[in-house]
């Protein structure tokens, strides 16, 4: 079966971003960018399913500016067979991405679509669910285990309080949680091989999708700063402070 994986280029998770002084957004000029960590897990899962013989072809998709090609090359170095870039300089919100992915799902007809559960920049946690809704497919979000058997995916999900297992009929949309797997490191030979893999570039107009943002960001602010704390020399002082100064115990 064919698997489709969506990957997003985001500010590297180790970077502490700063809000621009004019409050129009965060300053991402000259900061390190990488593949969204949850998407790495998604690509890894697709590759593992291919290694098990369940999946035959993996198509990686990214939406955004031309630099997203790097992210697709990374996905192909991990093991994706080919890549599709939906190129636009417009700000893309989850609904727009879900519509772009829906158009590609219609075209590619995959049996399994894997996304990360959320991107660490907008922290939305929406795209997978929205894609499932638009394509009228079942969804299995926050997956920590995926088994494909008999036209169904049996997925264990991380929910509040523990784990839950669902069976969804294929095709289906799965979004990955942190504990689904540990993504492999890409090796130099695989990076070289990835450069030869096919990377198709399409525009939102080619797919007939209007990507205009629906939410307008009026302002981006620094979160409220915490007052400077103090260091206490020992446990007795700590207990005294908590009881008499902070009055929390």
């Amino acid at each position: 079966m064919k698997a489709l994986v969506a990957v997003k280029r985001v500010v590297d998770y180790n970077v502490k971003v700063r809000v621009k002084s004019d409050q129009t957004g965060v300053d991402i000029a000259n900061v390190k960018m990488s593949m969204n960590p949850f998407d790495e897990i998604a690509v890894e899962e697709a590759v593992r399913l291919k290694e098990k013989g369940v999946v035959t072809e993996i198509v990686a998709i990214s939406c955004g500016d031309a630099k997203c090609q790097e992210t697709l090359r990374t996905a192909m170095a991990i093991g994706a067979d080919r890549g599709i870039l939906v190129e636009t300089t417009e700000e893309l919100q989850p609904l727009a991405v879900a519509k772009l992915l829906k158009a590609l799902v219609d075209k590619e007809q995959p049996q399994l679509i894997i996304l990360g559960k959320q991107a660490i920049d907008d922290d939305a946690n929406q795209t997978g669910q929205m894609l499932a809704a638009l394509a009228d497919l079942p969804q299995a979000t926050f997956a920590s285990k995926v088994e494909i058997e008999g036209g169904k995916a049996k997925v264990t999900r991380e929910v509040d309080g523990g784990l839950e297992t669902l069976a969804v009929s294929l095709p289906a949309v799965v979004t990955t949680d942190l504990r689904l797997n540990e993504p492999r490191y890409v090796t130099l030979p695989n990076i070289m091989k990835a450069k030869k893999k096919q990377l198709e570039v399409v525009k939102p107009e080619d797919l007939g999708v209007d990507v205009k943002p629906r939410l307008k960001t009026l302002k981006v602010m620094e979160p409220p700063k915490r007052g400077a704390g103090i260091k206490v020399p020992d446990v007795a002082t700590l207990v005294d402070k908590l009881k008499n100064e902070a009055k929390v115990i």
Binding site: V159, L178, R214, K231
Partner: protein, 310 residues
Amino acid sequence: MTALVIAEHDNAAVKGATLNTVTAAAACGGDVHVLVAGHNAGEAAKAASQIAGVSKVIHADSEAFAHGLAENMAAQVLALAGSYSHILFPATASGKNIAPRVAAKLDVAQISDITKVDSTDTFERPIYAGNAIAIVQSADEKKVITVRTTGFDPAAATGGSAAVETAAATADSGKSSFVGQEIAKNDRPDLTAAKIVVSGGRALGSAEKFNEVMTPLADKLGAAIGASRAAVDAGYAPNDLQVGQTGKIVAPQLYIAAGISGAIQHLAGMKDSKVIVAINKDEEAPIFSVADYGLVADLFTAVPELTQAL
């Protein structure tokens, strides 16, 4: 203008997160209705009708809602969506699962994890692991929202007297089914609602040590236990205890972080706590930059000593 809150419940009682969501819904202006969709959930509907500020409870009962499957729940919400300007879910695993599905079917943007309602169409939400707060304005006719529960006070669970109306249940989608669950048994207060949270990190070294050191302190304080991702990944604590960007977001009165360095992703889940205490050997650990009280000490001596002293 009327807001619909999708209740999270266990069929018998309404979960705490619903109460915070009602407060957020009231801030959007207009009446607040609550949908209780479940299987034999009459008791939960009755409980919802007593929440202060709720003017109507809609109860939809069907076996299809027994496990809150997103496909079935979203269909039920959509069947009612026509008469509402705002549709709000708590930003829990369940709310996050269903809300975007509803939004996409309505062809509207969804607004995730709001922490403040500025006006009927303008909301505040944290981005980049809480390192920035975005004020966003929705141009859509209907607002589909998930509410970060720590951003809003809970509505009073009693004092209301809303009418309970029964709605026809939508059909089972047949696309997904519930197989089973493993819910961790826990006598402690719920992590996201606890007044005090004690959290352990990688420095605990093993699951045995984690329990040995953290449990007595939690017992003494009547606190919930949390953990950093490092502790969860190493298997010292179950993953539903994870506090952070990808785990639970907590804002208790007192948060005690023991053996947690304070990575950005962990801070995202706890930095709105009223008082933060850090116990760490490494005086350079980033956790000290957000801690109100820091103790540079070996947690294996300091935490038992603290338990003793309380």
